[in-house]
């Protein structure tokens, strides 16, 4: 399988004297990314306080109402307030992003570190399995995983995590391989430091930079995959207000009620844009050499 060679990238921690946040803020695109991401996070946290309606309450009298002062983004085919559902949708998207990326990172970290540090047969077997998973188009594999197991939020998050494990494992392995040859590792080993402790205490903190960049970039991808699965009717089951489900519902009526697709679509695109810009900014600050690979 030919995949882009992961570049071992270490020692790219920010210079001292200026915080990561401040350095990101100086980059105009990253600044936009930070602002959008912050708005989405705030919407997810404070959504229930801002929303005037119940996201799943059906009110047929309000069906397809256009945007107005009563319904800021209009109402859908069941008379549900779209603004409320967009706010609640941010919760689902972020939840999926956080859990699936955390799960994928954790497993990828363990497998990648094991492969890179132990080497030999373990490395060959782990990376062959990673290559095999990576060969499947992510959306297709996630789709089949969700279809095979019980549909629901937990399955969606697990499926997205699984299809992303190879990328995290590769990044960690490449970095561990580069790091383990360094003098400080040999020095620690010579004073009798145990291997596991060496890995946890010294090597892992040094490979955090590439890992942070990869996790931010794939956070946005995780949100897109969840929305795609829900759009196909195989993601978060209704009546939950997933943006993908809202678009799937709305597209049947888009000729007469285009607002039912426009607002959820803008919400997904802006969120993904925000995290993509933030990921690009982090990459430029932490790890410029990843530029051509992500």
């Amino acid at each position: 399988m030919t995949t882009p060679p992961p570049v071992p990238l270490t020692d790219r921690r920010p210079r001292k004297g200026r915080s990561l946040g401040a350095r990101l803020w100086r980059n105009p695109m990253a600044r936009i990314g930070m602002i959008i991401s912050a708005v989405v996070v705030l919407a997810a946290i404070f959504g229930p306080l801002l929303a005037a309606y119940d996201p799943v309450a059906i009110k047929l009298a309000d069906r397809f109402q256009g945007p107005s002062r009563i319904h800021l983004m209009g109402a859908d085919h069941l008379g549900r307030d779209i603004f409320t559902r967009v706010l609640y949708g941010a919760r689902i998207s972020l939840q999926v992003g956080i859990v699936s990326v955390a799960l994928g990172t954790l497993i990828g970290l363990i497998l990648g570190a094991l492969a890179g540090y132990v080497g030999g047969r373990a490395d060959t077997v782990i990376m062959a399995v990673m290559d095999a998973i990576y060969a499947f188009p992510a959306i297709l594999l996630a789709l089949v995983l969700v279809a095979v197991f019980k549909p629901g939020l937990a399955t969606v998050m697990t499926a997205i995590a699984i299809v992303r494990i190879p990328i995290f494992a590769r990044t960690v392995r490449a970095s561990v391989l580069a790091e383990r040859e360094k003098e400080y590792v040999a020095a620690s080993r010579s004073v009798g430091q145990r291997e596991v402790l060496l890995l946890a205490k010294h090597i892992l903190p040094n490979i955090m930079a590439p890992l942070i960049v990869v996790t931010t970039t794939y956070f946005a991808t995780a949100i897109v995959v969840e929305a795609s699965l829900s759009f196909l009717g195989l993601g978060v089951p209704p009546p939950a207000a997933s943006w993908g489900t809202m678009l799937n519902d709305g597209r049947k009526f888009m000729e007469s009620a285009p607002h039912t697709v426009i607002f959820p679509g803008i919400a997904i695109s802006l969120t993904v844009l925000g995290f993509n810009l933030l990921g690009d900014g982090l990459r430029d600050v932490l790890d410029p050499r990843l530029k051509n690979l992500l």
Partner: protein
Amino acid sequence: MDTMTWEPSQVLAYLIRRSLTLLPIMLLMSIIVFALIRMVPGDPIDVMYGSEGMDQIRREALTQELGLDQPIFIQYGRWLWRAVRGDLGNSYRAGMPVLRLIGQRLPATLLLSFAALFLSLLIALPLGLLAAVKRNSGADIGAMIFAILGISMPNFWSGILFVLVFAVWLGWLPSIGYVSPFQDFFKSLRHLILPAITLGWSLAGTTTRLARSSLLEELGKDYVRTARGKGLRERTVLLTHALRNALIPTVTMIGLQLGFLLGGTVVVETVFAWPGVGLLVVDSIFARDYPVVQGVVLVIAVLVVAINLLVDVIYTVLDPRIRLG
């Protein structure tokens, strides 16, 4: 490293050698596909044949025929042997062999994928070139906004938006459906435009950014300064020197994106009711027609590996700096 050209026999030997290294990966992939469907809850015969209510004698005969009473690795071996010979089972919804069903649907998917790839290159390469040459200008910013929007807008959303604007509001193009180019070429083209743009835009986004950054990197190198220093026209420096080298990483990445493109067809075909394998797999999931799901996943995965191998070989043969190791 010395430059040389390759004899066809050398290329073939390299191709075979590379294919052999891929064998373990392909085997692992087949295990994943086999295991996936085996994880579906319920009796495998019901899962594979949709046979609830089948009489006991027929059920036992099938159990023996499929080797379901055998250990799991023997079952896998039999399944793999049948798959290698092109027997992917039968679709109980369409009542025909899965491979024939996939064969009927694959041309539409390939047409869409290659049209999307073609469109994305048509847009991305000149745009990346313009952005790099006019760095930090309005054109550069515009190109980067185009690229980041393409990357950030999910396919199904941009697809819906295109349908809304170009089919529903302006009425210029059909909103859904497929016409074979052999049946009516121009009608086929009209149906192809929106899905191909939808699928191609995200790819164009990645390619524009990569073309720009690769070209900027090349323009900063010594050989470009030398070329300029000896009085070559800027146009020559750009097109015959820098661009050629900048294209190498770009083309490689495009090859690697083909898997992404085939995955993207699942969503885009659903939006546009495009009768390819992407729509087939989604429909089959809802109909619980698991032999088809299994077959499509296997065929697409093999296709992705084969395309990547091909890109790798072409790239190796074209780039004289790389030896056929």
